[in-house]
């Protein structure tokens, strides 16, 4: 059993004295782990850092086995972000959320594309904070819990959509949601169809994170008795401390 693919490192855990068990999100094979012999050697540790994009080969005698990994780095974004507190927190949160929510050995090409786009944005783009919310939206959709933001769940209108129903995950217009305002989740305009080009305020990004976080926890993790990883809360705390996000 052997294949080669491209993957982003979600986590790397020490195994014994020399090896690492590396968890990657690959383009064609989904989230996949493998044993990396000699992974704790200094040179290997530099390569196998969280967030790095790798070209990997996986091999095992049987498909069910953990298998052995070899590979080389294509891009090393993780190391580039070490000095930036908020972006580093975003990278940690994104990889931790991916590792916590995606099932193993199931291809999720959209999730891979979303994480790739996020990591590229963290390295250079001005829209990285939005890209993070979009990554979690893509994750929800890929896992079968996508939000329907096309029209109001109650009236069917396509304008003034400002809420999301916590029960159905569908958009709700301002008028229809007014009586239930306290129970509704806020829908930031940049998530609406056609809202991609808008420059949102910090609060909009926080609303987007609250929205995706609610559904990730309620629909994906809670049925398995799990919660969102602490790295995500630390990212939100770090983001909240930034009064204005100049690069949003």
């Amino acid at each position: 059993m052997q294949w080669s693919d491209e993957g982003i490192i979600l986590a790397a855990r020490r195994h014994g004295e020399r090896a690492l068990v590396v968890d990657l999100l690959t383009r064609e094979h989904g989230r996949h782990a493998g044993l990396l012999r000699g992974g704790q050697a200094p040179r290997a540790r530099t390569q196998w850092q969280i967030g790095n994009r790798m070209l990997i080969s996986w091999s095992a005698r049987l498909a069910d086995h953990l298998g052995f990994l070899t590979g080389e780095r294509v891009e090393g974004h993780g190391v580039m972000l070490l000095d930036d507190r908020v972006r580093l927190a975003a990278l940690s949160a994104a990889t931790a959320v991916g590792a916590a929510t995606l099932p193993e050995r199931e291809p999720h090409p959209r999730a891979y594309a979303g994480l790739t786009a996020l990591i590229a944005a963290l390295g250079a783009d001005e829209r990285w904070a939005i890209a993070y919310v979009e990554w979690e939206m893509a994750l929800l959709e890929e896992l079968g819990f996508g939000l329907d933001l096309s029209c109001c769940a109650s009236t069917g209108v396509t304008t003034d959509l400002v809420y999301v129903s916590p029960r159905s995950g569908q958009a709700v217009s301002e008028a229809a949601g007014a009586p239930y305002r306290s129970q509704m989740l806020k829908l930031p305009a940049f998530l609406l169809p056609g809202g991609e080009g808008r420059r949102p305020a910090t609060e909009d990004v926080m609303d987007g994170l609250a929205l995706t976080g609610f559904f990730l926890e309620r629909r994906v993790l809670a049925p398995h008795g799990r919660k969102l990883p602490a790295a995500r809360s630390r990212y939100i705390d770090a983001l909240a401390q930034v009064l204005t996000i100049p690069s949003v």
Partner: protein, 200 residues
């Protein structure tokens, strides 16, 4: 199970030793019973009885506070924060730091579920507040998890008004640029320092 099997089994649990090398070590010990085995057994029993973590810094020593914390010649105004006791020993080997230490006991890790409460971060904050510390040097590994911990500690120390620094990232001594990875080179360029010319 014989006593010999038990010895081999226990030796095989040591880092770097497998069953085969444990058998060789056991045989070596038995052949040098008086010269090596008995002193080693006595030293291990004594170490197990006396070595404990220092209540101030987390270092391992036979006394509490440890030798480093109790040494009046060391600068109490500087605290170097490290992940593990092995890192403390590495810095001590360099003979480059004469302040005090604080061992965190790991780094924040999403995968292993290690949060701030599992590390000795509260103890560090309390120590900095009480002991009149001038500078905290964060000597964590240059990994995503190590630097995430660095940023978290910087946040926690922000209100205290202490100077917080971290180890430089860049070209190692004896390192050749051609063999360095892009991340290290980028970090080295970012952290470049100005050089004074004409110094006598």
């Amino acid at each position: 199970m014989t006593e010999l099997d038990r010895l081999i089994q226990l030796l095989a649990k040591l880092p770097g030793l497998g069953p085969r090398s444990a058998r060789r070590a056991a045989l070596y010990l038995i052949k040098r019973r008086e010269a090596v085995m008995e002193p080693l057994a006595a030293a291990m029993a004594e170490a197990a009885r006396t070595i404990q973590p220092c209540t101030i810094c987390g270092n391992l020593d036979t006394i509490d506070p440890c030798t480093l914390c109790a040494d009046p010649r060391r600068d109490a105004g500087q605290i170097c924060v490290v992940e593990d006791v092995a890192d403390l020993w590495a810095i001590e080997r360099a003979h480059a730091f004469k302040g005090r230490y604080h061992v965190l006991g790991g780094t924040l890790s999403a995968l292993d579920g290690i949060g701030p409460s599992e590390l000795r971060i509260d103890a560090l904050v309390a120590r900095v507040k009480e002991a009149g510390v001038r500078e905290v040097i964060l000597a964590m590994n240059a990994t995503v998890e190590g630097q995430t911990t660095v940023h978290y500690i910087i946040d926690r120390l922000a209100d205290i008004g202490v100077s917080v620094t971290r180890l430089a990232h860049g070209v190692p001594v004896g390192g050749e640029l051609d063999y360095l990875d892009e991340g290290t080179l980028a970090a080295a360029l970012k952290a470049r320092t100005s050089m004074k010319s004409g110094a006598a």
